[in-house]
Structure formats: C-alpha cells, structure tokens
C-alpha cells in the first residue's frame, strides 16, 4: 500500500493533461524524484509545487528541459542570494546607531 503522501504519476498526468514521458524526462534531468512501489510510479506530494511549476514553464513558455534545468539553478541561486541579503541587512543593523 503506497504512502498517503505519494501521488500516482499516472493520475497526476491525467488530471494535468500531461504525458507520462514529460515526468520521466524531468526525472532524467534530475529535476524531480520519482518513487516506484509495486511497479507503479509515484511522486511525493512535496514535489507537487515543483512539478506544477515545470509543467507551467514547459507548456506556457515553451521552455525545454535544458532551459528548465538552468532556470532551476538560477532560481536556487536567487533564493540563496535573497537569504544572504536578509542576513547582511540584519548584520548591517549592528553598525547603525540607535
């Protein structure tokens, strides 16, 4: 019996009008992780926001898998930089007079 936090890839593809191959390619590019339980493919529900984002990027903006891979790295970098900015801003307050 699969974990209740696992979503069947087939069901996800049906409800989002996606091809199974699309999800498989995302996995091959290392963009998402799939789990196989009793020969059925699942994704963890924590992957859902990422999965939907890739579906939007691919279908709405015609971005290919290489592009999505690059975007993922850049968004990660942006997120890291955003955190770094917050940290530096907080540190800066140390040198500001009350």
């Amino acid at each position: 019996m699969p974990d209740q936090d696992l979503i069947s890839v087939t069901e996800f593809c049906e409800s989002h009008h996606l091809q199974f191959g699309f999800i498989e390619s995302l996995q091959q590019y290392g963009l998402i992780e799939m789990t196989t339980v009793e020969q059925t493919s699942f994704v963890h529900d924590s992957e859902l926001p990422k999965l939907e984002q890739f579906a939007r990027l691919h279908h709405e903006l015609d971005i290919n898998f290489e592009g999505m891979e690059a975007i993922t790295h850049l968004l990660q970098r942006m997120d890291e930089m955003h955190h770094e900015i917050i940290k530096l801003k907080n540190k800066l307050s140390l040198y500001e007079t009350h």
Binding site: S15, H16, Q53, L57, E60, H82, I86, N90, S93
Partner: protein
C-alpha cells in the same frame, strides 16, 4: 475604471496578426512569468495584464468586440442588446492556453469584466493545487526571544500558530495547506509567513549573538569591581577586572539569543565597556588627579 489598451500592453500594432500576438505574448510572458519572478509583485501584476491582453486579442471573437467598441466600451452592452444578436454572444473559452499557478488567478481587470463578463477564464477540469498565500507578521525582538503562540486570520478563519524562539528577521515559514483551495479537487496551496522583527531592546542582534555597550565609571575600570548588567534573560552580575580599558569587549557565553528550533541552546552576549570619565571635579579630586599625573 479606465480603458485598457491591450495592443499597447503587448507592444503591437492594431493590425497585428495572430502570429504577431503570439510572439509578443510569449516574449513578454517569459520576462514577467511569476515562476521566473518569485516575490516580485510588480512582475505578477504585469503578467496579469499581459495574460488578459492575450486572452482578448488571441480570441478572434473577443478581439472583434474589443476593436469594435474600443473606447466606447462602457456602452458595449447597450449596443449588444440593441443588436439582438444574443446567439453570437458566447464567450466561453475554448482551446488555447490555461494559465495557472502562483499568482492571482482571478486577476482580470474591471475593464475586462465589464466588457466580457466574469467568465473570462477558460474553464477546465484540470486539478490544480491552490494558490500559495504570502503574509508578513510583525514581531518585537522580545517576542522572538521565546516560543509563543499567535492567532492569525486567514480567509476569515482563525489559525493558531506556534512561533519558535530564535526566529530571524526576514525568515519565512511555510504552513502547509493554508493557502487557497485547490481547483477541481486539487490540494490546497500553502501559506508563507515572513517575519518582520522590530528591535525594541538596547541589544543588537547578530544571528544568535547579542551585542550591547555598558557604561562603567573610571574607578571601577581602574580598580575593578562588580556591576549588574541587563541580559535578555534578566540581570547578570559581572566582575570587572582592574585596569579595564575603554572599549574592552567581553563575552557572556549562553546569554545571547535562543538558537532557532534548538531548545536550551543560546548564542552569546558580547558586552563592550564604555568607561565614563568623571565630570564636575571637586577641588580635592583635581588635586588628587594632579598628584597622580606627577607620579
């Protein structure tokens, strides 16, 4: 409510072909898509405008109506009624693209609603995860020092959340499932709360460490002694070494800020001594200082 120039939004001429519209839309969508502009409200707003312009101009019927009434859109419905051509008026959306995701899906302008009614968005049976919500919560530094609960209101419902001690200014936490409801049975979105912490203390925070300056008088600095200083956890008794220099920094281990989600762990408190020189010296003091200076 103002007229919205969809051609201007897409940067195209009024006689643009469907191919031109598609190209212009794709180009702008790639630039302003919410997935590529996280935390950028301006880009989200622009994307909604671009989306709306495309919704109208890429649909020949809608484009015809838009072109026909143009700036007289306020009278569009009256004209329509006068024409008695209700059979022509089906604005159900078929085909094309269905945008979704991390932005306000109901974001059509009043102008659009007025001209085309509320049913602008294409209907679909696709299951979609609900939109994520973002909120900001203001806290004082003293509140962030202890783990505490707060009740926040989301869509009219009260939600009690636990804020762990040691949360940082600008830190974001996720409340799973507290976003907008999913569409067609899809899961709910999440709620992201960003904390904005106001310093209501005399301490300066650097991660888990706190910094402060303490005044000591000349005699304590020279001869040593004991002083009471304020830490976040209360008063602390400190021994000042003889001949302590102005600007000396000492560290009180474990008297700083709690480490986030690490119960019982605290950063350090750094104290910088500021030696205050006496003023309004008496004759006797002057005499003694003069004597000291000659030694």
């Amino acid at each position: 409510m103002d007229f919205v120039d969809y051609y201007k939004i897409l940067g195209i001429e009024k006689n643009a072909s469907q191919d031109d519209i598609k190209k212009a839309y794709r180009k702008l969508a790639r630039k302003h898509h919410p997935d590529l502009n996280p935390n950028n409200k301006e880009a989200h707003k622009l994307f909604q405008q671009i989306n709306e312009a495309n919704e109208v101009l890429s649909d020949p019927e809608k484009r015809k109506k838009y072109d026909e009434y143009g700036k007289d859109w306020k009278h569009a419905e009256q004209f329509e009624k006068a024409k008695h051509s209700s059979s022509q008026q089906h604005y159900a959306n078929e085909g094309g693209q269905n945008f979704s995701g991390d932005f306000d899906e109901g974001g059509f302008s009043d102008f659009f609603e007025s001209l085309f009614g509320g049913g602008g968005r294409r209907t679909s049976q696709t299951k979609f995860r609900g939109q994520d919500y973002n909120a900001e919560l203001q806290l004082n530094l003293t509140d962030a020092y202890t783990t505490h609960q707060q009740t926040i209101t989301i869509d009219g419902k009260n939600v009690r959340i636990t804020i762990p001690a040691g949360i940082e200014n600008g830190q974001k936490i996720k409340l799973k499932g507290y976003g907008a409801p999913g569409a067609n049975g899809g899961p709910n979105g999440d709620l992201y709360i960003t904390f904005s912490i106001t310093n209501n203390t005399r301490f300066k925070r650097d991660g888990n460490d706190l910094h402060t300056t303490v005044d000591i008088d000349l005699y304590t600095a020279l001869l040593g002694g004991e002083i009471m200083v304020d830490a976040m956890s209360g008063k602390v008794k400190l021994k000042v070494n003889p001949e302590t220099q102005n600007g000396t920094k000492i560290r009180l281990k474990g008297k700083g800020f709690p480490v986030y989600k690490s119960e019982g762990q605290f950063g350090d408190l750094f104290i910088t001594y500021h030696v205050k020189l006496p003023t309004n010296l008496t004759e006797k003091q002057k005499e003694l200082f003069t004597e000291l200076s000659k030694l």
